[in-house]
């Protein structure tokens, strides 16, 4: 008998329109000291498994069939009090977002000590000693001092360590980690994964690692279960799943992951996944409205040139100048983007890459330096009116497709808004026609115009964002992490779309991402940013093959190595 045995589990969510089956005939087992990766895309039912095992399904969800055994004892039919005694004591949970997993109003000590005393018969001093020990074990420096602090005084990675310490309070035999590193930077992710691997090994703890990230699975898990629509479609050793997947879905999923080690012409099309529409071939973009009036002067050379850009934010206001504190979000950054080029900016959170994009589009006014666009000095423009023709030529696509579209407007109006604003259509009918064509171009079809954003999935919304950005016939597109909120299969589609549009319309692009494999697939040249400084700019292939700066080498080292399964993509 394994440490954890799940047999034929079925979880249903009753709703007005019949029961939604989130998990169906699921059978899994985990051995002590083993890490079982559960991988799948959003909505596949991965997180539901974890919640069902510890008996914390969100109502009205319920487990309607199957059995769960922990170390040979059945636990799914226990009463609430008995289930509670298992939670934390025998099965620990780690959640995705360390920024929201801790109670912001209590000290780390209070949270640790209360949890410890809940499960173990220790007095205040002993519990505190154990808490310090745990913090030390998860790699928090000066645990004796830091224990008295509040969560907001810790960085994201440190908070996730605290979360792990909390999960370990009562020495559980089993840990369920639900996307534990998704919200973290790649360097922090590597540390946390190392920590969790070490804990499983040293304490002989079994772990279910739920994630959508193939790289994390490849680095960490011993065995993998691939989920699709509530069912496990394939289980096996990690090397076997990665190298010789059997099920079509697994093959599609793996082929959609951006390759860090080589550049492909385009992403393999994921046929298994629905709504995998490719760029419509119905329009000849070169002769269409979208492709017209692209005869800008000075087509060759640099389209955008940023010199000594500087952005300083005041982080502490004070009447006295010497008490003020500043953050130099962008510090002396210079680069240029050639016409028709895709320029990548890569860096961890807080490196200032998004700030650069915001300065170029005029959301922030730089505190120093100049931005020249097609020969004009944007930083010297006085009024919004003066800036409007330049702003029209550059458009932005944002990270979060859920918050970047106005939910109360129809898609038609969302896309038509910039057309009307810049007076680019002579009549309402013409604008309407342009909107329909744009929706065709991004692969949604004209019938999408009548709908509201909430009727679309994340990937489809990002297509709407792209259509909106194209509506002003821009020559320069800024994409700020355009796919980091999307599943890999959807990411592949959106990146293909961007790539096709870029080539057909001759767009120049600034592509911002923290994801090195994506950068490698899409960018011609890359700049690496850290702490507001631009460390290195190089041709993409040179950067990946022969990085010059130590930090770039470090970042490339940390990139999850995802090798194997060569046949399909070769």
């Amino acid at each position: 008998m394994s440490l954890l045995d799940i047999k034929e589990m079925r979880v249903e969510f009753p709703s007005r329109r019949g029961h939604v089956v989130a998990v169906e005939s699921l059978t899994l087992n985990v051995e002590p000291g083993e890490i079982l990766g559960v991988v799948g895309e959003s909505g596949a039912g991965k997180s539901t498994i974890g919640n069902a095992v510890i008996g914390l399904l969100e109502p009205p969800g319920q487990m309607t069939a199957g059995e769960v055994y922990l170390d040979g004892t059945r636990i799914d039919n226990l009463d609430d009090a008995a289930k509670r005694r298992i939670r934390g004591a025998r099965i620990g949970m780690i959640f995705q977002d360390p920024l929201t997993s801790l109670d912001p109003l209590q000290t780390i000590e209070r949270q640790l000590v209360d949890t410890i005393q809940m499960h173990l018969d220790l007095d205040q001093a002993q519990a505190r000693a154990r808490a310090v020990e745990l913090l030390d074990a998860v790699g928090i420096p000066d645990p004796n001092i830091r224990i008295e602090q509040y969560p907001h005084q810790f960085s994201g990675g440190m908070r996730q360590r605290v979360v792990i310490a909390l999960a370990l309070c009562a020495d559980p035999e089993m840990i369920i980690a639900d996307e534990p590193t998704t919200a973290l930077d790649v360097s922090v992710q590597a540390q946390i994964l190392d920590l969790m691997k070490g804990l499983c090994r040293d304490r002989n703890v079994g772990m279910i690692l739920i994630t959508h990230d193939m790289g994390v699975i490849a680095e960490t898990a011993d065995r993998v279960a691939v989920m699709y629509r509530g069912r496990v479609v394939e289980t096996g050793k990690t090397e076997q799943i990665m190298g010789t997947p059997v099920h079509d879905y697994t093959k599609s999923l793996i082929s959609a992951v951006p390759r860090p080690e080589k550049r492909l012409h385009r992403f393999p099309l994921v046929t298994y996944i629905e709504d995998a529409t490719e760029l419509g071939d119905t329009l000849d973009l070169a002769t269409h409205w979208l492709g017209q009036t692209r005869d800008y002067e000075g087509e060759d050379g640099d389209l955008l040139q940023a010199d000594n850009l500087h952005m300083r934010f005041v982080t502490r206001h004070s009447f006295f100048a010497k008490h003020r504190l500043y953050l130099d979000a962008v510090d002396d950054v210079s680069f240029s983007i050639k016409t028709g080029e895709v320029f990548g900016l890569v860096g961890e959170s807080g490196s200032g890459k998004s700030t650069v994009a915001r300065m170029i589009t005029g959301i922030y006014t730089p505190t120093g330096g100049t931005i020249r666009f097609a020969g004009a000095d944007l930083t010297a423009l006085k009024s919004r009116k003066e800036a409007a023709p330049w702003r029209r030529q550059m458009q932005m696509i944002f990270q979060d497709p859920f918050s970047s579209l106005n939910g109360r407007m129809r898609v038609r109006d969302i896309i038509a808004e910039p057309i009307h604003f810049h007076k680019m259509a002579s009549s309402k009918d013409e604008a309407e026609q342009i909107v329909h064509d744009l929706l065709d171009v991004v692969g949604l079809g004209a019938q999408a115009a009548q709908k509201f954003p909430h009727e679309f999935s994340g990937g489809q919304r990002q297509r709407i964002s792209i259509a909106r950005a194209l509506a002003t016939r821009p020559r320069f597109l800024i994409c700020d992490e355009p796919t980091s909120a999307l599943d890999v299969s959807i990411q592949a589609q959106v990146l293909n779309l961007l790539k096709d549009l870029q080539q057909e319309l001759g767009l120049t692009m600034l592509f911002i991402s923290h994801d090195l494999p994506v950068i490698r697939q899409i960018c011609d040249r890359v700049g690496v940013m850290r702490h507001g400084k631009l460390l290195e700019v190089a041709e993409t292939e040179n950067l990946f093959e022969d990085p010059q700066h130590d930090y770039t080498k470090h970042l490339l080292d940390l990139m999850p190595k995802f090798v194997g399964f060569q046949e399909l993509t070769a």
Binding site: I54, L56, F95, D103, L105, Q106, D114, T115, P141, S155
Partner: protein, 328 residues
């Protein structure tokens, strides 16, 4: 934090000066103060002399400055109606209003918060539904109607409680209190409930909404996932996190309890400031009205200051400078 408090105090002073300006305008320009003070048979010369003596011919700023300085010392001149210093009247009436407001606020908080928590935790229970329905009545019925109904039922039909006044009061160092006598306490019950009912339902609904919000957060889920019992999750984790908005609203409501005690005081003939104010309006007793205005504004400002400081006590994220947070 000290900078913040100083900032807030400066803002408060500004607010008080603005209110003082309005009160002064009321005093100086609504009707002629001289006409209000003297009788019909006063001659024009006497009026002119009085005008000069009272400084009513001075420049606007000088007059306003004099008014503000006097007001800061609690001097609002003489009541036209009572022929006594306004400050004396206020000192006489203030304890009645403050005692009533305090008891109402305590009732509202100590019944409203637990009811809010309860209805949030047992969202679909029968008792919760009953509370929610009752609270709807509490919000929709006007205060005076509730007061009159209470009087009718407990005062006239059952004859359990006195229908008006404060009952017997005890004077302790210039402060009259009804807390120490049986009749004083009995008189307090109905007005306090009347005044508290609206606030109670408001606080209950607010706490419920906030609780439901907090119960959905990750840290509550994580607390459950580490086996913390429901009692702990609800009352230690969740309740504390609902407090910031509750403190804000409670602070504002406490101010309005004092300010809007007027209606309750009228219904129960409670000898507080509200009643004084209503009578002053009837008699165009402008110094009393001006004083009331300034005093209520002062209460609001002080309460808001306390609320701002309480934020710091509840939420540690505000205590450190932003520059220090997120460090390693």
């Amino acid at each position: 934090m000290i900078t913040f408090i100083i900032q807030r105090i400066l803002q408060s002073v500004l607010v008080m000066l603005t209110v003082a300006l309005i009160a002064f305008g009321l005093f100086r320009y609504v009707g002629d103060p001289i006409n209000n003070m003297v009788g019909q048979d006063t001659s024009t010369e006497e009026r002119a002399e009085l005008r000069e003596r009272l400084g009513l011919n001075d420049a606007f700023l000088v007059q306003f400055g004099r008014f503000a300085i006097n007001a800061a010392q609690g001097e609002f001149g003489f009541s036209y109606q009572h022929r006594r210093p306004v400050s004396d009247l206020i000192v006489e009436r203030l304890p009645a209003t403050l005692e009533l407001s305090l008891v109402s606020a305590i009732l509202a908080l100590f019944i409203g918060i637990p009811m809010g928590v309860y209805t949030a935790i047992r969202r679909n229970g029968a008792v919760s539904h009953a509370f929610m329905t009752l609270s709807l009545i509490g919000i929709s019925l006007p205060t005076f109607l509730i007061g009159i109904l209470l009087i009718l039922f407990f005062g006239v039909i059952l004859r359990w409680l006195p229908t008006f006044g404060r009952g017997d009061v005890v004077e302790i160092g210039g402060w009259t209190t009804g807390f120490l006598t049986a009749s004083g306490l009995k008189s307090l019950i109905m007005p306090a409930i009347t005044l508290a009912l609206f606030q109670m339902t408001l606080i209950m609904r607010l706490v419920r909404a906030e609780m439901l919000e907090v119960l959905r957060t990750d840290f509550v889920k994580f607390g459950r996932a580490r086996g913390l019992p429901d009692r702990y999750v609800h009352f230690v984790t969740a309740l504390k996190n609902t407090l910031v908005p509750v403190i804000t609203i409670t602070g504002l409501q406490l101010g309005s309890i004092i300010a809007f005690a007027i209606i309750t005081e009228s219904v129960f003939q409670w000898p507080g400031m509200g009643l004084l104010f209503i009578q002053a309006i009837g008699e165009v007793d402008i110094p009393v009205m001006a004083a009331y205005l300034v005093l209520i504004a002062f209460f609001f400002v002080v309460i808001n200051l306390v609320v701002d400081v309480l934020y710091y006590v509840v939420d540690p994220r505000l205590r450190v400078d932003r520059a220090d947070s997120g460090g390693h």
